[in-house]
């Protein structure tokens, strides 16, 4: 795979990971925080902040090509313990988002087929995903690429349909209190970063060394651009067709928009979009997440059963069962309690901290290893990047407090998960500390600690 097809593959990985069912819930959440026109401004702000982060990740990827990004970059840039804390934080976000995905998908299907209980759909979806991944099944690359771009086309079409069939004057008519919107912009910007989450999954899938010079970094930037345009158009379609209050009250605005424009057919279209989105995200996400967990198990950060792999297909079964089981539990909690937006907001806040850590890791590596080879160099000003490191956690915190009704739940949830991440990191460090005279060490000698790619 070379040239245009290779770049298209990278774009499909990034867009496929980000274009999940839960992004529509987050879009609805944005309508509850700022007025319709400002939703588009918040998306633009989220994209503008994501671009330098993607460039920083691109440079890190060129230093450690094919590595499981978050663990490797942060370990080299910030040290073992901070890296583990942030990896666990990131994995908690993956588990929570997978839960939201399944719950939102169930809500969409339940709208089309009210006789089927949502909980049954949640369980069936997750069990199917776990079985498919354990058997080593992965969508063929061509199918993955086409399905991703088909979803993109459908979402763009839905947005355009909303504008054409709706009333564009609603957009300004519903934007009344600009000063309030301006105050809420940092929170809305942080929430909108959830919409782009997943572009960083492009970094481990490089098909050849040269891809890390331009192909992978620019694909991440391209992914953010494509998503910004798509979500902006979709938001405009929503704004022109529905009241902001109605949108904000729903976890599945895509169903509302399409049923408003097309009636019963629209509901079917929404189910198709959601099914394709969940297929694409779970296919790449559960597999990608399970490989990260598998890598942690191989480092002895997690119990050995988590690292169990099939000796016929190679599938990381222990990691898939761990991730899939936790995601199923998360999905049931979300579905029973209607926590879609709470969980998505916590995810957005935590991911802001993780992204800040990526930029900080790069800044530290530029200082500690200035001569280390980099086939791609992010071009941003030093004061700007430090500002990003400081601003991102603040934006994340403001997202937690953006909706007064949810502030307590989101803040408590984010605090609890941060504490769990700290405890899990400590446990991992204790577990992987060398044990003298153990059988395992004799059979599996500890790798040289200081090996770093020099050229």
């Amino acid at each position: 795979m070379r040239g245009f097809r290779e770049i298209t593959f990278y774009l499909s990985v990034g867009v496929g990971m980000a274009m999940s069912t839960s992004v529509f819930t987050m879009l609805a959440g944005l309508f509850g925080v700022v007025s319709p026109l400002w939703v588009v401004i918040a998306i633009a702000l989220g994209a503008a902040v994501s671009l330098p982060i993607a460039a920083a990740i691109g440079e890190l990827a060129s230093m450690y090509p094919s590595a499981p990004g978050i663990r490797t970059y942060l370990k080299h840039g910030l040290g073992d313990r901070p890296s583990l804390v942030l990896v666990y934080m990131y994995l908690f976000v993956v588990v929570m988002v997978a839960g939201v995905e399944a719950a939102v998908f169930a809500a969409v299907v339940h709208t089309a087929a009210p006789a089927v209980p949502a909980v049954a759909i949640v369980i069936a979806t997750m069990v199917l995903v776990i079985i498919a991944n354990c058997s080593g099944f992965e969508l063929p690359v061509g199918v993955q690429m086409w399905s991703t771009f088909a979803i993109l086309g459908l979402v763009l079409w839905a947005g355009a349909l909303g504008i054409v069939k709706g009333d564009p004057s609603r957009l300004l008519a519903q934007t009344t209190d600009w000063s309030q919107d301006l105050q809420q912009l940092p929170a809305a910007g942080a929430m909108s970063m959830f919409l782009f989450m997943g572009y960083e999954w492009i970094t481990p899938v490089g098909l050849r060394p040269q891809a890390y010079r331009k192909g992978i970094p620019y694909s991440m930037l391209g992914t953010i651009g494509i998503l910004a345009v798509t979500f902006s158009l979709f938001s405009l379609g929503l704004s022109c067709s529905l009241d902001a209050g109605t949108i904000a009250a729903s976890a599945i605005p895509q169903v509302m928009l399409l049923s408003h424009a097309l009636g019963e057919t629209g509901v079917i279209c929404a189910v198709v979009i959601s099914a394709a989105a969940i297929l694409s995200t779970f296919n790449a996400g559960i597999m990608g997440g399970s490989r990260l967990i598998n890598a942690l198990a191989k480092e002895r950060c997690l119990p050995s059963f988590v690292g169990y792999q099939s000796l016929t297909s190679g599938a990381p079964i222990g990691a898939i069962l761990t991730l899939g089981g936790l995601s199923l539990a998360s999905a049931l909690v979300v579905a029973y309690n209607g926590l879609e937006l709470v969980i998505a907001t916590i995810g957005a806040a935590l991911i802001c901290v993780v992204y800040a850590a990526f930029v900080l890791a790069l800044l530290r590596l530029r200082k500690s290893a200035p001569q280390a080879p980099r086939s791609f160099r992010a071009r941003f000003a030093l004061p700007g990047s430090w500002l990003l490191v400081l601003a991102l956690p603040v934006m994340g915190a403001s997202a937690l407090l953006a909706d007064a009704k949810l502030a307590l739940s989101t803040s408590a949830g984010a605090g609890a998960l941060t504490l769990f991440a700290l405890l899990a990191a400590d446990r991992s460090l204790a577990q992987k500390a060398p044990r003298s005279n153990s059988k395992e060490n004799a059979r599996n000698p500890v790798a040289p600690a200081a090996i770093v790619r020099k050229s």
């Binding site: 490797t72 597999m287 490989r291 191989k298 480092e299 297909s313 990381p316 599996n444 040289p448 090996i451």
Partner: protein
């Protein structure tokens, strides 16, 4: 022991391990090893569940377009430790000491091979 000796030894282990054969059914690949410090390249050709040859290659070696390649990149000492079972390839990738360029499924297959041949879990 040179890397070439290590690779020949690995070939013997691979070709006499039934579980490895089961794992590489219908998995015909050229495994290209690129040593970043010595600038030497090596290939291992897996075909019909056997490793049919191990060769030294020139630095500008390019596999035929028709072949599926798994490209491993690292320092020669790292490659030597990986193929002598002293360094788990999954850990080497996480450490940033080894880079693997291939289809994601092939990476999983390599990790499973290390488990089968060296019992690295």
């Amino acid at each position: 022991m040179t890397l070439m000796d290590t690779l020949h030894d690995f070939r013997e282990r691979f070709n006499t391990n039934n579980r490895a054969h089961k794992l590489v059914q219908k998995w015909n690949r050229i495994v290209l090893l690129e040593s970043l410090d010595t600038k030497r390249n090596y290939t291992m050709h897996i075909e019909n569940e056997r490793m049919i040859d191990v060769q030294t290659r020139t630095t500008d070696y390019a596999a035929p377009e028709t072949e599926k390649v798994v490209h491993l990149q690292g320092e020669e000492s790292v490659l030597g430790q990986i193929f002598s079972g002293k360094y788990n390839p999954a850990t080497a990738v996480t450490d940033g000491a080894l880079a693997v360029f291939s289809d994601p499924k092939d990476k999983v297959k390599l990790e499973a091979l290390a488990m089968v041949i060296w019992r690295l879990g």
